[in-house]
Assembly symmetry: C2
Homo-oligomer: 585 residues x 2
Amino acid sequence: MGPWTIFLVAVLLAAALGGEQAAVQAAVVKYDWTVDYLSAAPDCVERLIIAINGQFPSPTIQAVQGDTVVVNLKNNLPTEGVTIHWHGISQKGTPFSDGAAFVSQCPINPGEIFTYKFVVDKSGTYFYHGHFGMQRAAGLFGSLIVSLPPGEKEPFSYDGEFSLLLSDWYHQSIYLQELGLSSIPFEFVGEPQSLLIQGRGKYNCSLDLCPVGSPDCLQCNASANAACAAPFVLPVQPGKTYRLRLGSAAILSSLNFIIENHNMTVVEADSHYVEPFVVDNLDIYSGQSYSVLITANQEPTRNYWVGLNVRGRLPATPTGLAVLQYLPSNSSSGLLLPPTPAPQSPVWNDFAVSVAQAEKYAAKTGLAYSAPPAKSHRLLIFLNTQNTIDGHIRWAINNISYVPTATPVLAAFKFKLWKAFDQTPPPDRPPPSDNHLDIYATPNANSSHARYGNGVYVFKLGEVVDVVIQNTNTLNPNNSEIHSWHLHGHSFWVLGYGKGVFDPQTDPAQRYNLVNPPLRNTVAVFPYGWVAIRFIADNPGAWPFHCHIEPHFFMGMGTVFAEGIHNLPHIPSQTLGCGLTKPNW
Amino acid sequence: MGPWTIFLVAVLLAAALGGEQAAVQAAVVKYDWTVDYLSAAPDCVERLIIAINGQFPSPTIQAVQGDTVVVNLKNNLPTEGVTIHWHGISQKGTPFSDGAAFVSQCPINPGEIFTYKFVVDKSGTYFYHGHFGMQRAAGLFGSLIVSLPPGEKEPFSYDGEFSLLLSDWYHQSIYLQELGLSSIPFEFVGEPQSLLIQGRGKYNCSLDLCPVGSPDCLQCNASANAACAAPFVLPVQPGKTYRLRLGSAAILSSLNFIIENHNMTVVEADSHYVEPFVVDNLDIYSGQSYSVLITANQEPTRNYWVGLNVRGRLPATPTGLAVLQYLPSNSSSGLLLPPTPAPQSPVWNDFAVSVAQAEKYAAKTGLAYSAPPAKSHRLLIFLNTQNTIDGHIRWAINNISYVPTATPVLAAFKFKLWKAFDQTPPPDRPPPSDNHLDIYATPNANSSHARYGNGVYVFKLGEVVDVVIQNTNTLNPNNSEIHSWHLHGHSFWVLGYGKGVFDPQTDPAQRYNLVNPPLRNTVAVFPYGWVAIRFIADNPGAWPFHCHIEPHFFMGMGTVFAEGIHNLPHIPSQTLGCGLTKPNW
């Protein structure tokens, strides 16, 4: 619970080489962290949080591209294991540091210290979070910012920056949430109680009393002086430009970020530069990160709301609020709240607006960008369905609903522990009976034979893989939900989106952007639509690919990709000990 | 969550030997259990429970002396490890099946199946419970009844029997309780909300509204028809005698069990026969078990309350109630509640009454009873103190406050992993500065230098060990608390109790009973008093010795005894994998 400590150990590489060039410093950035319970009230309602060094959100990691980050993580929880996933970090050569429980490592037992060690090989905006059960929903997340090396410049300029980790927030414990998701009948916790901006929100009024966007809602959602949850403040100088680093650790919600009267120029998505474009509201799906530039070019005698709303699901949560504070005039006597209603986002179910924004993303070419290979070696079509298995509601991909192994998949490949997981790889395509996919049917005929499984997709090293994620109707009539798919260990090109059923004969030619598709690690698939991604299987390891909506992954919506399984690095002992990786002494 | 299954595999030993004697059957009693969360309301208030096969209390094990019990335990909790301790079972030859987390085994990880296998070598009344963090307080406990082999008879007779597991019950989650106990400032959950008899109680009134024992309290504490928590019913035939098997899984409370108008004859304590004696109320300390005989010799036209009260701490919990139902007249139209107030126990702080009852216990000699060796080889004096360490309130023994290791102590001895725990054994006596113990001082000068530790007391195989547990004042003036000390892997003789400071020169001669002291596995030490026990270190293994009050052990009130460390059996792989027992592949 003590303060966290940072040690910067400079390693002078160039100096060691004795070259004539200026010394290039690659540092080791070291953190000593303890995971503990914390009882806190980020939205004014006390609840149990899983915190690092007593902080919520967890501490921010600051590193420079090329640095090695070392985190000594002590698990001080009494009975829970824990792991931390460094979301978006490639983990080249260190797949055992990816922090996905039962894929890259065994959970860290209570009392153990686990050392995560990895190179941050690309500048950008990242975050990290718990990746075991639903521990992210217990508040176990924090920012990870990787700056450019000294001397390198971003392809845009700004005068200052803020980092805002965005999240939805529940009052029910994760244990009850997990129980409900596993129960017959299924019990879902529903919409979040609050939306948090950098860990702050305010819960004290119902939507009945306080409709979203109503001026009456202000006193409920923000207060300058409340002991709990004073809104996060972004102080700006008139005329200056700021970079906002945004990340969504949301559990369920598709978020929309908006700043009163201020446009935002999107310049980065998931650590990759994008061709700049201007929006007045930004969709952020769980697991995504962005940088936007804003200029403080509005009337400077007042302040402005920074707002966070739910999209994609019928909102039942008031706007989360922060304050853009114009300096110096508004900082003299406490925080002046903006005199206006909370900012509104587009109507929750106007999916066309969301798709249109998603389709605006294009990579900023030049710099370090590589266009995708013109062709892929393999096409996977992943039919997302909601199913009933043995009375449980489960999500499935091509009729397989993922259940975690008891043995880390990475170790299973390394040590040939073939009993650790299903040895039949899951299908590349929806079942044969689904040649004529009816994605609008419910219950979905495509998924009538869904079953539990944990088979792995194995790729050759260097294989170019396309995955088309095909959305369908849920178990409820006329309902299809947004999913936010995240791939560990890689960035992928987002080749295109479409409505209806993906047609492998025509859609690639008609709808794929192979020139400057954006690189990402997390992409949304929209209701009744599909999204196509391409990646190169060039990172030896075992990598979860899953919906980042936490209850969805908990309910089976994911799988594991493995590649370079004959080129795996040494697996440290500390990642082992569970399942089939117990010693036989 | 499915129904639990039992397989009885008869192994005909004598038949295999081909002798002329009647076949002696030693069975293998097999259970397949799954540990899951359960949301249930044993006292009418919903809370999260850790349950086995969806049941609270957990399923009862029924076995016959000499049987081998096999429990395949699947941990289906999302992120928590789990272990089960078979309280009172000697585990001769199977110390790795004792179920004490980080002493006998690593916690069982989520998704793993662990097989407990042990012989129940002595008939009697036992129970089992979680032994990791405070999981027992989450409701993880159940009965374990070992019957005599066919043909053998108890030294008392009865017409029927009931098994009642007794417990106190909190509404706060164990995670918050654990956090509070570790916090600065210390936050204690306080007195329990309810007392449960065989998992049933009723919480809906405050002590203000409903003083303990008040007739107005009846509707609060028992109802014949409530959907939740109908009181447990013990149907009896007039004139018949019944054996009540009682066990206390209490978290904090010293319990007092009482049946309106009915005396109880105590015949068994912690699976050992005692010289029968009659009480009208029975003290039961956490971790203890008893058999009492009652005869249904009262007016049979009405029913009678079975009551459970708190003693030893200022009670803030209404009487827990069950109903002794006289058949057949009172069973026709639902359950008739007794027309009387809830039964009262002796005043909570009349410790003289408690000590007097404790001193009534004597072993029933003859049968299998052995008197203790006349002398011990080694005397440990364990000064129990409450201390402050680095701002945390902790319990300590001779100034050492136990912190769990990350490596099972048993495996550490077997595989010589000496870095697993403190290699300096803890002291046999209170520190030298404490030659003149002032057990009434507060803060206690004896404990001004308490520190964290996890050293182990190591005994030679066969060594006869005396432990005198010496109570003191807590950090609060004029306050000394009851503790209930439990030894794993052994029964011990309770040689005697005393007030004030134990004097090794005079007390053994004056106060020890070496003729027929009772054998037990759990004994209370009373405020400002001491208790002396003797045991033979004849069970190769590593065995926790600790206060069975769950927050006390969580706060360091315990230690580990090891013996026969050169004669340890093979340690199964399934118990390993944590701490220093990870494989180095």
